[in-house]
Amino acid sequence: MPARRIAGTVAGHVLAAIGVAIAVATLAFIAVQAAPGDVAFRIAEARYGERISLQTVDRARQATGLDQPIIVQYGRWVGSAMTGQLGRSMVSGRQVATEVWRSFQTTLSIAVVGVSLALVASLAIGFAAGMRRDGLVDRIFLVVSAVLSSVPSFLLGIILITIFAIGLRWLPAAGNNRPGYFILPACTLALALLPDLSRVARNAVVRTMQDFYPTYGRIKGQSWLRIVFAHALRPTLVPVIAYFGPLVAHTIGGLVVIDVLFNLDGLGTRLIDSVLAADIPMAMGAGLLIGISVVVVNGIADIAVQVLDPRLFNAQPRP
C-alpha cells in the first residue's frame, strides 16, 4: 500500500516538476523581456564589455534572432527544449546545456556538503539543546543561533576566508580548481543555514520530549540511547525533513552570495547574470534547472517524510 502511495506521490511530483520548471523558465523569459531597455544592448554589454559599440549591438541583435517577434522566440525555445535542446548562449555562444550543467555540478557539490554539514550539526545541537529545554545548553544555543542568524552570510564567509585561507592558508580563498575548494563555501553555507535549521531541529526535539513516550521508555527500563535512536529519532526527523522546502530556497539564495564571494560559477549566479545580460536561452536553461531542483528536493523531502512517519499517510478526517 505505501509503495503504491509513494508511486502516486512520485508521479505527482514529476508532473509538478515539469510544470514548475516550465513556469520558472517562462518567468525567466518574461523577466528578461520585462526589464526596461533594449535587450540587444544588454547582450552586447555582456559579450563585448568595454568594447561595446553600436555596431556590436547590431551584430548581437542579428546573431541572436532578437529581431524576431517575442512570441516566435519563446515558441522556438519551448519547441527545442521539448527535444532536450536548450540552444546556445547569446553571450558566449556555448551550449546552454553544457554550461548550465557545469554550474549545477558546482552548486550541487557545495549544496550537498553544506546542507549535510548543517544537517548533522543541527541534529547534534538540536538534541543537545532540546533534550533539556531551557537548560544551560539550550539557553546558550538560543543566544548563539540568534547572533549567528543576525550576521549577513557574506560577512561569515569573509571571516572564514580571513581565518582559514589568508591566516592559516589551509584552504583556497576562491575558485574551484583546487582540491577542497568546496569546503569554505560549504562551511559558509552551513553556517548561514545553521541557525534556522538547528532551531527547527531543537524545536522538534523539544516537541518529542514533551511527548510522554520518551519518559515512558525510561519507565519501561529502556536506555536513553535506545530511546533516542530507536524511538524518538524518526519522529524528530520529520519536521527537519519537512523544512527542506524553505531550506532549498535559502540554499539557492545563499549560494548566490557565496558564488560571488568565492568566485564560483554556480547556478544561482548563472541565472542572475544571464537575466541581467538578457541571455535568454541561458536564463531559461538555468531557470529550468533551478525549478526542477526545487521540485525534486521538495518531492524527496515529501516522500522521505511519509516513509519516516507513516502516520501522515493515514491522516484521516475525524468523523
Binding site: V20, A31, A146, P152, G245, V248, G268
Partner: protein, 278 residues
C-alpha cells in the same frame, strides 16, 4: 502521569515578556526605530557631506565612528541609514502582512477555488528563493528603494498568507468558534474575539523575524552591488562600499555591521519569544 494536572491550562499565555527579551529584544529595536524616526533631528552633520582629506579617518573627536573612504561621517550615515534600512525592512513586512492577512483570511473563509489559487500561488512563491527574487528585480530595474520593496513584498506575502490561512482555518474548527457560530455571532465578531487573538502571536513572530531577515536581505543585495542608489546611506550598501577596507580600516565596516546585528538580533529575539509563546 505526565505533569500532574495541578495547573493544567495555566499556560503562560498572558505572562509578561521576561527582562532579557525586553533588554535585548524590544529596547534595542525601539531605540533603532526611534533613531530612524528622529534621524533628521539628531543629525548635526550631513551624512552625504564629503571631506576627501579625512578619507578613511579612524574614530576621533570630529568623527565619532570615523570617516568612510570618501570622508563622510560614519556616525551620521549609520543614523541616516536606520531610516532607510529599517524603513524598507519594516515597510516590506507591513506590505506583506497586509496582503497576506487579507488573502489568508479569504482563503480560510472561502474554501473553494479562491483558497486553491491563493495556496498554490503561495506554494510556488515560497519554493522560490526570495533573495534571488529581490536580486533579480533590483538588478533589472537598476536598484533603488522601489524595486527592493517590491521584491521583498512579492516574495514574502505568501508566508503571511499561508500562516494566516492555516491558523485561521484551525481556529475556525475549534469548539469555541463552533459554539459562537451556533449562538448566532457574525463573522466580524468571531474574527475579532476568537481568531485574531489566536493568530496575533504567530504573525508578530513571523513579522519580527521577517524584519530581521529583510535587513539581512537588503544588505546582501547591497553586497552584490545591486542595492540602493548611491549616495543613500543604507547599512548594507555601506558595508558593500567599504568591504574592501575590512582588513585595513575595519571601523568602516564594523559600525554598519553592528547596526545590522543589533536590529536583526533584537528582531530575532522578539520573533523567537513570540514563536515560543504561542
Amino acid at each position: 502521569m505526565t505533569a500532574p494536572s495541578l495547573d493544567e491550562g495555566a499556560v503562560t499565555r498572558r505572562s509578561r515578556p521576561p527582562l532579557a527579551i525586553v533588554l535585548f529584544g524590544f529596547l534595542p529595536l525601539a531605540a533603532m526605530l526611534l533613531l530612524a524616526l528622529l534621524g533628521p533631528l539628531l543629525l548635526t552633520v550631513d551624512p552625504n557631506r564629503q571631506a576627501l582629506s579625512a578619507a578613511s579617518a579612524p574614530p576621533s573627536a570630529a568623527y565619532r565612528l570615523g570617516a568612510d573612504n570618501l570622508g563622510r561621517s560614519i556616525a551620521a550615515r549609520v543614523i541616516a541609514g536606520a531610516r532607510v534600512s529599517l524603513g524598507i525592512a519594516v515597510a516590506g513586512v507591513i506590505a506583506s502582512l497586509v496582503t497576506g492577512l487579507a488573502l489568508g483570511f479569504l482563503a480560510a473563509f472561502h474554501a473553494g477555488w479562491i483558497r486553491q489559487v491563493v495556496m498554490r500561488l503561495s506554494d510556488v512563491i515560497i519554493a522560490c528563493p526570495g533573495l534571488l527574487f529581490v536580486i533579480l528585480i533590483s538588478g533589472l530595474l537598476g536598484g533603488g528603494i522601489g524595486p527592493i520593496l517590491f521584491g521583498l513584498w512579492m516574495s514574502q506575502w505568501p508566508g503571511f498568507a499561508r500562516l494566516t490561512a492555516a491558523t485561521t482555518a484551525r481556529e475556525l474548527a475549534t469548539d469555541h468558534v463552533e459554539a459562537a457560530r451556533l449562538l448566532g455571532f457574525g463573522r466580524g465578531y468571531i474574527f475579532r474575539a476568537h481568531v485574531l487573538p489566536a493568530i496575533t502571536p504567530y504573525l508578530t513572530s513571523l513579522g519580527a523575524l521577517t524584519v530581521g531577515a529583510n535587513v539581512l536581505t537588503i544588505s546582501s543585495v547591497g553586497f552584490l552591488g545591486l542595492g540602493l542608489r548611491p549616495p543613500d546611506a543604507e547599512w548594507g550598501a555601506m558595508i558593500a562600499g567599504t568591504m574592501t577596507f575590512f582588513r585595513t580600516s575595519p571601523h568602516m565596516v564594523l559600525a554598519p555591521a553592528a547596526a545590522i546585528l543589533i536590529c536583526t538580533l533584537s528582531a530575532t529575539l522578539i520573533g523567537e519569544y513570540y514563536s515560543a509563546r504561542r
